[in-house]
């Protein structure tokens, strides 16, 4: 018998021993949230006790328990709280209240960042590319975000802070992270929607680099 099965049986033995009223095996309930045993206390009051793992030890052709749902694959979630411009971008984005738009806008920044890495976006074109792509991808509600970000980028540019591809890519990544962070936990955009944003942004990058 494997270790997990031993743990389960030990757990059940403790459970059964501590309650001591259960007649026959306790009923197993399977829900989207996991496995539960129905147990009765000494007054006969039923309650559900969650168990982490079920190992099917029966022989023969009986139907084994249906597995609880496997967790739905979530979009890659930013784990670390943002700082600096990332934190600002996350805050500005959250105040818009459009997580789907935030995911699309984050993809714009991701694509332009990649364009900077590939040498297709530079100091002269980055502002135009971001502006045109934003016009295509997000709606009017994002104007407050865009104004604040524009002020930040213009100031950074004037300080000479967007002078090479690495710095541009790092800045865009910081904004992207903030946008993605603000959209964490929301329903993911589809591959088709994501691809449309990437494609549109790529077209704008290619036009700007010609």
């Amino acid at each position: 018998m494997n270790r997990i099965a031993q743990h389960i049986l030990l757990g059940l033995a403790i459970l059964v021993g501590s309650i001591g009223v259960i007649a026959g095996p306790p009923p197993l309930t399977i829900t989207d949230a996991g496995y539960f045993l129905t147990v009765l206390d000494t007054d006969g009051v039923p309650s559900l006790v969650r168990i982490e793992t079920v190992v099917d030890l029966r022989d023969g052709d009986e139907t084994p328990p249906t597995s609880p749902d496997e967790p739905k694959p979530d979009p890659e979630q930013p784990a670390e709280p943002p700082a600096g411009i990332s934190a600002d971008a996350a805050e500005w984005s959250a105040s818009i209240g459009d997580p789907k738009g935030a995911q699309k806008y984050a993809l714009v920044f991701e694509t332009v960042r990649d364009g900077a890495i590939d040498g297709k976006v530079n100091t002269a074109t980055v502002y135009h590319v971001l502006h045109s792509a934003a016009d295509s991808v997000i709606d009017e509600n994002w104007q407050p975000f865009r104004r604040k970000l524009s002020d930040y980028l213009v100031a950074k540019m004037q300080e000479g802070g967007l002078s090479n591809a690495t710095v541009i890519a790092n800045t865009l990544e910081a904004v992207r992270y903030g946008l993605a962070y603000s959209a964490r936990g929301s329903e993911s955009i589809t591959p088709g929607e994501a691809l449309a944003v990437v494609s549109k942004t790529n077209s704008i990058i290619n036009e700007a680099s010609e």
């Binding site: 496997e70 993911s188 589809t190 088709g192 990437v198 790529n202």
Partner: protein, 315 residues
């Protein structure tokens, strides 16, 4: 979905591995592939190219012309990427568990005794009985089509060669299956999406497709075929019975074709063994046939909807 996930989507479906459009990257290189790179554009073009029949249909609807698989993304490609599809890769992905080796089949020694285990009670939207019937229907399609195959459906996965579970697959993925491994002791897993409302013919057709993988068939590019990556009205209309392209693939893997007609509606969901029907000859004049159920009928290029051809009820 972010850029990394988009690249993973194309990777998992095998589109960085299209031998006609080689990009020469390994999985460890994926992080270095940018969204503006030609390798990414090539993978998108590969996806468009493999699902060309669907892209043509969608482009016709959107733009009134046929598609060009050029990697550019318009509304038609956007819809193409959202189409419900099988999670099995379109091209072999080295090292991926599902892909295995794409010339594998079940050895002759075990083809007469393939057990399919249903490891869940019911699919969302269906009764327990209909769920079982859907898998019996899917297995019967292959039992009828291949004379050297005898497969049975059982409740539970004990002793099963192929077993199916439910899972939340996410996105547009309907189901996936492991591929056959040329080994009688292989145990192949399948998953069906738990986050979707199923019905008898829908589940039976999708299961027929996934069982095709479990018998060794990869995806093909025939937009009418069962083993096309996306579900469509033509395979639904055949209740998941393989077409000539699918059967040609099966023969190429070493299976013997029976030449049988598809199971009748009466036999489709009836467990084997039963004697397959003789080819069905209509015994009523064509103009007395009535329609009900699901296959797609056309007036020229215009779809009239989905129907099943049925005999006129005898009174």
């Amino acid at each position: 979905m972010n850029g990394t996930e988009l690249k993973s989507f194309l990777w998992e479906k095998g589109h960085f591995h299209n031998t006609e459009m080689p990009v020469g990257i390994e999985e460890s290189d994926l992080d270095k592939i940018t969204l503006t790179s030609k390798e990414f554009a090539t993978a998108v073009r590969s996806y468009q190219d493999f699902l060309r029949p669907t892209l043509d249909e969608l482009t016709l609807q959107e733009h009134g012309r046929l598609a060009v698989a050029d990697g550019d993304i318009g509304p038609a490609t956007e819809r193409l990427f959202a189409m419900p599809r099988c999670g099995f890769p379109d091209f072999e992905v080295p090292g991926a568990a599902m892909s295995a080796k794409q010339e594998a089949n079940w050895p002759t020694a075990c083809r007469r005794n393939i057990k399919f285990g249903l490891a869940f009670d019911k699919a969302p939207g269906m009764t327990s009985d209909d769920t079982l019937k859907a898998f019996i229907g899917a297995i019967n399609n292959w039992n009828y089509a291949l004379s050297d195959l005898t497969a049975v459906v059982q409740r539970g996965r004990t002793g099963a060669h192929i077993w199916a579970g439910l899972g939340r697959l996410g996105g547009s993925t309907l189901a996936w299956s492991y591929l056959a491994q040329s080994n009688c002791r292989a145990v192949l897993e399948q998953r069906y999406d738990n986050d979707r409302t199923w019905s008898l013919n829908f589940l039976s057709t999708v299961a027929s497709h996934e069982i095709g993988h479990a018998l060794g068939l990869p995806h093909n590019r025939d937009g009418s075929a069962l083993m096309y990556p996306s579900i469509h009205s033509k395979s639904l209309g055949r209740r998941g019975y393989p077409n000539n392209t699918d059967l040609g693939q099966a023969r190429g893997l070493g299976y013997s074709l029976s030449g049988s007609a598809p199971p009748s509606l009466d036999n489709q969901y009836r467990p084997m063994p039963h004697t397959p029907d003789e080819p069905d000859e209509p015994d009523v004049p064509v103009n007395e046939l009535v329609f009900r159920g699901s296959f797609e009928a056309f007036d020229g290029d215009r779809s009239l909807g989905e129907f099943i051809l049925a005999r006129k009820p005898k009174v």
